[in-house]
Subunit: 207 residues, 2 copies
DNA sequence: ATCTTATGTAGTCACCTGTTTACTTGCAAC
DNA sequence: GTTGCAAGTAAACAGGTGACTACATAAGAT
């Protein structure tokens, strides 16, 4: 993952679980390592329970760090959330390729997410944290940057953003659906048929 | 309202009179009126800010009642939320009519919601309260009863529930979209074109 | 070996949460 | 009037929240 690579570059070694490396110094007080641990713990907990139901004390405990370090390193809980969110982007690959195949690639992305055993953390984080006004601008900016803008860029004709929004409805609807209805019914269905239906849906949205 | 009638029957409020008395007595201490005020305040606040960010004190203040009455009349904050949710159901009308027109009616429902000036309280309540595990079963049951079950009932063939879930994705996606992306782009687009696209999308989902 | 820097720690602050208890008050039947 | 009961109230309970501050301590330079 990107974050681990960044940390590795700075500290010069892998973080957890490896044996001591004599050639590379590994101080017991390692700012970057602690920061990375907090970031990872925050990512896991936010995606599991949503922003509101994770306290900074939970994050610190999970990372084996002190509570005060959250505010020292990230400024605030909300800023930490923002940094976690900026860490990755899931559906980039769906946007790379010929625009003609875009609907099919989006459909395959959705089906892939449905069948992924442990749900992707970022989408989960999104739909479990939507209610909070404090991080609303952060979420808005994220969706704008990673979904609407790249999607609109691939569209021609009038109302490009409206059509992108329509497609986004399907993608973002997956969150509440997973949480409130469950994915069992979707997983039980034929994946190829699902892709076909979703492709048509995205085509209708994007024309 | 329905709830008032039910409550009246339960508590036997009018039972004091020997026979049905249509003269409406309005004592200063009116259990039913206070209950109704709390219910209404809860509905407004929950739909505005979501379950987590509304306190029982806010509800009580808005209703001009004491905090303790929330628990006295409804048992708990979560139970109050459940009662509010049971109060209404928005998209019933989309399910009545010939199954052939179902996609178009669903499409029109979505466009209608998009163009409604003050957003419908119930959908807002849903997507702003999704994160809370305490009321998750209540929300699940509501969606099952008011969306999936009636939708599935109108479908033939295999994987009926999967197809209903697919359609539900579009409907439920409207919540996060409204909150994170805004509806301006959709409102700016031609409504007829929107209905056409959505109809095709629902058709592809439900076949 | 000493000093300096910054990483990590414990404790505290002021506030908010849902819920419960003990209490007061209004109303109607006797 | 007096009394009984339901409606309404104030206060407290037990706990949790994010943020902050004074302090201890390990690492690296001198």
């Amino acid at each position: 993952m990107v974050l681990d690579q960044a940390e590795e570059a700075r500290t010069g070694h892998d973080r957890a679980g490896d044996k001591p490396d004599d050639r590379v110094k590994r101080p017991k007080r390692d700012r970057e390592a602690t920061r990375a641990r907090l970031l990872e713990a925050a990512r896991d907990l936010f995606s599991e329970h949503g922003y509101d139901h994770v306290s900074v004390r939970m994050i610190a405990a999970d990372a084996g760090a002190n509570v005060a370090l959250v505010n020292r390193y990230f400024g605030s809980k909300a800023a930490l959330f923002g940094e976690v969110l900026a860490g990755e982007s899931t559906l980039e690959q769906a946007f790379t390729g010929s625009p003609a195949d875009l609907p099919r690639r989006l459909a395959e992305h959705v089906v892939r997410v449905v069948h992924r055993a442990p749900a992707s953390p970022i989408p989960r984080m999104l739909d479990r944290s939507i209610g909070n006004p404090e991080i609303l601008p952060i979420l808005q900016q994220h969706m704008e940057r990673h979904l609407v803008t790249p999607l609109t860029a691939q569209l021609d004709g009038p109302d490009a953003r409206a059509r992108a929004t329509l497609a986004a409805t399907i993608i973002m609807g997956g969150g509440p659906v997973r949480r409130l209805l469950g994915l069992d019914d979707l997983r039980a269905a034929d994946p190829d048929d699902l892709v076909r239906r979703l492709t048509t849906m995205f085509e209708a949205a994007l024309s």
